[in-house]
Each structure stands twice: as C-alpha cells, then as structure tokens.
Amino acid sequence: MAYDKFNILKSSAVPLPIENVDTDQIIPARFLKATERKGFGDNLFRDWRYNSDGTPKEQFVLNNPIYSGKILVGGKNFGSGSSREHAAWAVYDYGFRCVVSSFFADIFRGNCLNIGVLPVQVSPEFLDKIFKAIEADPKTELEVNLPEQKITILATGESESFDINDYKKQNMLNGFDDIDYLLNIQKDIEKYAENTPL
C-alpha cells in the first residue's frame, strides 16, 4: 500500500532529549489490542503524557503548547526494544513525519521507513545543536531535504548530511512500498522456493 511521499519537510520540532527511548514508552503494550491501524497517536508516549487518571502531565513536552511540528527530535538509541510497528504508527498518527536522533534501534528505523516516516540520524554534536536551537526558540524550524539528504537548522544555517540507501530513498520520494516491489518479482521468488524444501 503506497504511503505519503516525502520530499522536503520544513517544520518546527518537538524535543525529547532522553536517551534509550524504548517502544514501550512510545506506545505501551496495553494499547496494542486493535485490529486496525488507527487511533494510535492518542496513546503516543501515553505514560509520560498522562497520569493514571487520564489527566495530562503538564511538564511533558507533548503537553506543552509552545512545542509543535512534524519533526520529533529524540536522544541517542531512539526506539529500542520491541518490534511493534505500532510505535511507528503512533508517531505517524500523532502527526510526525520525521524523527531525528543520533542513533536509532534497527527495527524501529525499518518500521518508520516502511510507513513513510523518515528517520534522520545525525552526529551527537549536531543533535546537540538542534536541541540548543529549539531551547533558544521553540518555534525554530528545521529543513529536512530528502533529495539532497541534508538537514538544516534554518535559523543558523548549520546543516549536516544524512544516510539512506538509494532503494529506500526512492521509495520514500515516490511513496512506494516493499510489497509492490516483491509482488513484481514473484516469479523469481517462486523459482527460489521450488528449490527450497520446507
């Protein structure tokens, strides 16, 4: 199923300068009971965002109206833990289209790419610059340029390039997904399977 195309994203960003943000924080297991992919954004960072009685925890960044935008900026080792794609769905459903960190857990990174959320890995120094820029001005904008593989802090003009493999880049730019690709080479797959006993 195709997803949103990603080209150049210019947006303010929401800072979460915590390391090892795991998928149980992004979306706790008790919210994984749905059989359809909708509504996960409401429970993004549920236990950091709400008290047990459902009232918002005011100090948490998503409850602070001065921060907004389509870019989530997290600390090192973002998305560690479970393979639940629900974590990426929650990030997307809340409205983020890009997550920036100095290091991503593998499965979370892959899950984001598979649904059209761009994970942008930057150096620890550049991550620090982004956090400082947001601290100085919560409305400061970042530009994530996928064709040029470049992220820029617009207020200062500082930028850094980021990696993404060509195949995934084309998928993101065009909104293609892997299944479209795999269905196109089904004959090759069937030939391989014939020679592979169970």
Binding site: I18, D24, L32, R37, G75, L183
Partner: protein, 470 residues
C-alpha cells in the same frame, strides 16, 4: 572465500540483491501471533491476495491471552476480538493455528523449537523482537514489524540490508549459580542496549558449547536487548539431539540430507567478523538489573553504580534510578520485593522451572510476595506435572498458571501494580513494561526463586550454601 556461520545461511537465502539497497531474503518459516498480524492480514485483503505459502506459516495466540481459565471466553472484548481475528485469518488462509486450549499452544518462541519448526540453517521471522531465540539452533531468526509481516505473508520474502557481523566469545567455566540468563545479562551490561545495533551476533566459546539447547535459547533470546537483530550459535550434537524426531523436523532420508547441510554450518576458521569481543566466564556472577533498561545490570553482590562511572547521559541515568526509587551506591541484596514472575520466552521452559524448584524445595513462599509462575507452553506445563515439580511448587505455597506471555509485557490482566517491585525472569525492565508504574528487576530463575522465598533480593548462592550445610 571463508565465511561466517551467518554469511552461509544469509547468502544461501538471497533471492535478489539490490545495488545500494537491501537484499531480498527468502524466509523458510514464519511465525504469526495475534498482536502484530491483524493489520498485515488486512493489507492482504485490501490487495486481494492470499498467503503465498501457508505451509511455511504457523499461528499461535500468546501475547494477549489470559493465564487463568483459558477454557472460558476471554473477558476483555478487545483481546477477544484480536484472538478471533487471528483465528479467522488463519482459517481463511489455511495456516495451522494453535489457539488457546490447543495442546500445542504456548509462547511462539517456545513452541517453535518444541515442535521442530525451528531447524538449523533456516531463516525464521515473526512480528516479535524475541524471534532471535531461534538462533540457538543455527538459524537466522529475527523480529519484524507488521509491514514486514505483510511482506512475508504475501511473498515469503523480506527486504533487509545485510547486517554486520559480531562474534561474542565467552570462554572458561561458569561459576556456581551462574545460568545462561546471567551470561546474557552480563554481556548486555558490558555492551549496553545499543552496543550491537546494526550487527548480527554469533556466540562462541566453551560456555556456549557446553550449554543446553534451552540455555542457548535464553542467550539468543536476549540478543535484541543489546541492539543486535539476532544472535546465533553453530549447530552441534546438542542441537541435533534436541531436534531429532520432533514433529516438523525432517525424517528418514530427508534427515540425512539435512544433516549433510547442517554439518557445514559453522564459521570457517579464518572467517572475519566486523567486531569481536571476548569475556572470561569466571568474571560472571548471578546478575540482577537495577534500572530501566536491560543494560543496567550488575552482579548481585555489587552496589548500584554511581552516575559519574557510567557511559551515557547522567540525566537519563538519574531519571531511571528515580523511577526505580533507588539511589546510586546502594546494595541490591536485601532490597524488598513484592512480586516474582517466572516465565516468558526468555525463561519459561522446563529447565527454568527445574532451577526455580531446586531453590524453593523444602522452603516456603515469603508472605509478602505474590508469585506468578507461567509455563511457556502446554508441553512445558505437562513436563512440570510429570517431573513432580508441581508438587514441589504447591508444597511451598506457589500455584501454576496457564501458558502465555503474561506479565512479561502485561497486555493481559497480569500487571504488576504501580510502584511495586517484581523480580522477573523476563527480558525487559523498561518503565511500565510489566504494568503502568511497575518496577522490574530482571534476573535468572535461581535469583527469582531466592527472592520468592525470602521476600527480598537474595544471592541464591547463600541458599544453596545452606542446602549443602544441611
């Protein structure tokens, strides 16, 4: 060219290589459960396609199931709906389905090996990060997201860049009361939860050679907790002996042919790894975690490290200790606990119950402890009864629940209450993992048993010493 074990299995499964992109990897066996599959099946429905190879696909219910009264309808309507969806999807696509109450039902990573679905040299995936468990057999096994579940259902392939290789050697002999869980927690404490991200691990050395299959499963299970997609161990006589005669393993001539292939599955002498680390088995003592990720583990006799002595952000470290309501420099031994959880795909097998029973035999459950003992499968449950372990448990004031993932991720009713401490044989001590506000101390079945009978964090060697003296 010389190859690693991982190279041999990976390279033989590449259907197509994409330049500056991922490999198209053929998947031999796909395990499916109720939580991460419904949206994938919905995707197939929307595309109007069927599961390509249902005979390579196996479904079980485990994550979102009660561990009591499984013969009754599931009370939670959302959970019941998810279970119904899996059953309907399995039936619609002719996938073997081992639902609640089925004699083969259990945690997906326990029943795969039990039934011989897991074999050396295979590629195995499941929408669950602890799929790494199956690497114990020399398979490439890793967890995938739901989009990838849909890929495998529809095309039996996945698109993955080939990870880098890491060899972890542990040589020498393990000390008393040091179990496979301790070996794994020790390695994670050294490498951190992101130390192996981007790598696929191979475990080698005396310790793993001498380890049982169940122990190897525990170690490989925890590979993901150091960031590795998976971990594997070269198959040997221990492996072949374990799998021979199980329902889905090859028989007769097919077995002989398979053995011929399996006996080639080892890393060549001069194979090169991108990274290699070596530990001395004698350095490892029974482990326990004190923080909110599995890398925050220490030998049970040690004190909680000072913030200044750790790698990483002091703010994150302090936040973690604050959640646990612990302080830097405190001893772990003697800390009061409220709950004990024995179970999960990490430590829910018969050897884990034997280890637990070895400590509690002749003792009583501490009054302040609530214990949840959850077998990994019905087969494990049957063995617990047959071996007389149930009698030992009952005598000591414990009861046995029915199989499932249970309090490992607390999707069902098995939730540790806010603020309470649980010594848990599971795999993650993340904030709220075992219930909102719950505090988890990861440890081995021996450490869990010692806590269950004393009501506090206790070095199991002390109790074993008492036994020797008695």
């Amino acid at each position: 060219m010389s190859k690693t074990l991982f190279d041999k299995v990976w390279d033989s499964h590449v259907v197509k290589h994409i330049e500056n992109g991922p490999d198209v990897l053929f998947i031999d066996r796909h395990l499916v459960h109720e939580v991460t599959s419904p949206v994938a099946f919905l995707g197939l429905k929307n595309r109007g396609i069927k599961v390509l190879y249902p005979e390579r696909t196996f479904a079980t219910a485990d994550h979102n199931t009660p561990t009591r009264n499984q013969h009754l309808p599931v009370k939670d309507p959302l959970s019941a709906n998810q279970l119904k969806a899996l059953e309907e999807n399995a039936n619609a696509h002719n996938i073997p389905y081992w639902g609640l109450g089925h004699k083969k039902n259990g945690i997906v990573h326990v029943i795969g090996p039990e039934n011989g679905i897991t074999v050396p040299g295979a590629t195995i995936v499941c929408g669950d990060s602890h799929t790494s468990t199956h690497g114990a057999f020399g398979a490439i096994a890793f967890g995938i997201g739901t989009s990838e579940v849909e890929m495998v259902l529809s095309t039996q392939c996945i698109m993955q860049p080939k990870p880098k290789s890491l060899r972890i050697n542990v040589n020498g002999e393990l000390s008393e009361a040091v179990t496979p869980k301790d070996v794994a927690l020790f390695i994670i404490s050294k490498l951190s939860t992101s130390g192996a991200t981007g790598y696929f691990a191979e475990y080698a050395g005396d310790v793993f050679k001498n380890m049982s299959m169940e122990g190897r499963m525990t170690v490989c299970n925890l590979s993901i907790e150091m960031g590795a997609r998976g971990g594997m161990i070269a198959p040997d006589e221990t492996t072949f002996e374990y799998i021979k005669g199980r329902e889905y393993t090859p028989k007769g001539k097919d077995w002989d042919a398979a053995m011929e292939y399996w006996s080639t599955l080892y890393s060549d002498d001069d194979a090169e790894f991108d990274k290699e680390v070596t530990f001395d088995a004698r350095e490892i003592e029974p482990m326990i975690t004190f923080g909110t990720n599995p890398g925050m583990g220490i030998g049970i006799s040690k004190d909680i490290p000072l913030a200044e002595s750790i790698d990483g952000s002091p703010a994150t470290y302090k936040k973690s200790l604050e959640y646990m309501d612990y302080n830097e420099g405190e001893a772990m031994v003697g800390k009061p606990i409220d709950f004990v959880f024995l179970g999960s795909c990490t430590n829910g097998r018969i050897e884990d119950f034997r280890a637990f029973a070895s400590i509690i035999k002749g003792r009583k459950k501490a009054d302040n402890v609530t214990a949840w003992l959850v077998p990994g499968s019905h087969k494990v449950e049957a063995a617990i009864r047959e071996e007389g372990i149930l009698d030992v448990l009952t005598e000591a004031g414990f009861e046995l629940r029915e199989p499932g993932c249970s309090a490992c991720l607390a999707m069902n009713d098995d939730k540790i209450p806010a603020g309470k401490y649980a010594v848990s044989t599971s795999n993650r001590n993340f904030e709220g993992r075992q219930g909102p506000g719950a505090r988890t101390l990861l440890a081995s079945p021996l450490v869990a048993a010692a806590a269950a009978v004393t009501g506090k964090v206790t070095d199991p060697r002390e109790l074993m010493q008492e036994e020797v003296l008695a």
